[in-house]
């Protein structure tokens, strides 16, 4: 079955997998904590996109409500996370995770 004319759920599965992988790549590759944070947002959005596609596939509104809650949690996460980053920057003068290695043995 097609979600929109010519596009099936498989297309959205692939697109979401690509976006999620790019986000994971960013978390692994970059060392700036803010960029890593943005890549986490990208991964969250890949999942949201797939949830909306599946809600269309199954004609179920609950998935879109779940996306709504994910957005609320992401907003809360960003507020607290950026506050933590600000505090780290104020104490360590950097957001580079290569320098912030005091908990690494």
């Amino acid at each position: 079955m097609e979600i929109i004319p010519g596009i099936t759920i498989n297309h959205y599965l692939i697109v979401s997998a690509i976006l999620f992988s790019i986000g994971a790549l960013g978390v692994m590759m970059r060392r700036n904590a803010i960029i890593m944070f943005m890549c986490i947002e990208l991964m969250l959005n890949a999942v949201n996109l797939l949830l909306v596609a599946f809600s269309k596939q199954w004609a179920d509104t609950s998935a879109q409500v779940l996306v709504f809650f994910i957005m609320a949690v992401a907003a809360a996460e960003v507020a607290v996370g950026l506050a933590i980053l600000m505090m780290i920057y104020r104490n360590a003068r950097t957001t580079d995770t290569e320098v912030l290695n005091k908990l690494k043995w």
């Binding site: 590759m29 803010i34 944070f37 269309k56 809650f69 360590a92």
Partner: protein
Amino acid sequence: MSPSTYVFWFLTFVAVLSALNVVFTKNAVYSVLSLIVTFFAIAGHYFLMNAQFLGIVHIMVYAGAIMVLFLYVIMMLNLNETFETNKDTFFHIAAVIAAGLLLVTMVAAFAKTDIQMQSMVDNSEIGYLEELGKVLFNEYLLPFEIASVLLLAAMVGAVYLSKKEIQV
């Protein structure tokens, strides 16, 4: 190919290219701007799937609030130029290979999975505000209220963390 198919591929290419730009650009401000482009493309996908409410909320929350917060923090920390330590290319290649393996694993799992293609009932109404509101305020009323408590707690936490006196 119908027009919506072209729109789908256009939005997909925009989203993937700007997402790659987020990861590979050196300047943090350009990363944020690329991520905003990605979010607009994803909002376009929502509109394409007839989920107008989520599309609008996505633009407001992500492009309007979250990314402005990121830009604000980058401005306050003065991270315009790159602050990252130089790493060897081996590390970059290892990260790219790991992410590529993740993608291959996910795609292979999707290919193996038999997603039941059930015959859809008429779903053109699914993304409308009216339908969403009915479900949200009947079935999901308690989670909705708890989400507001979560946002309040996050706000209090952010304000407390931003106070000057705290020392790590």
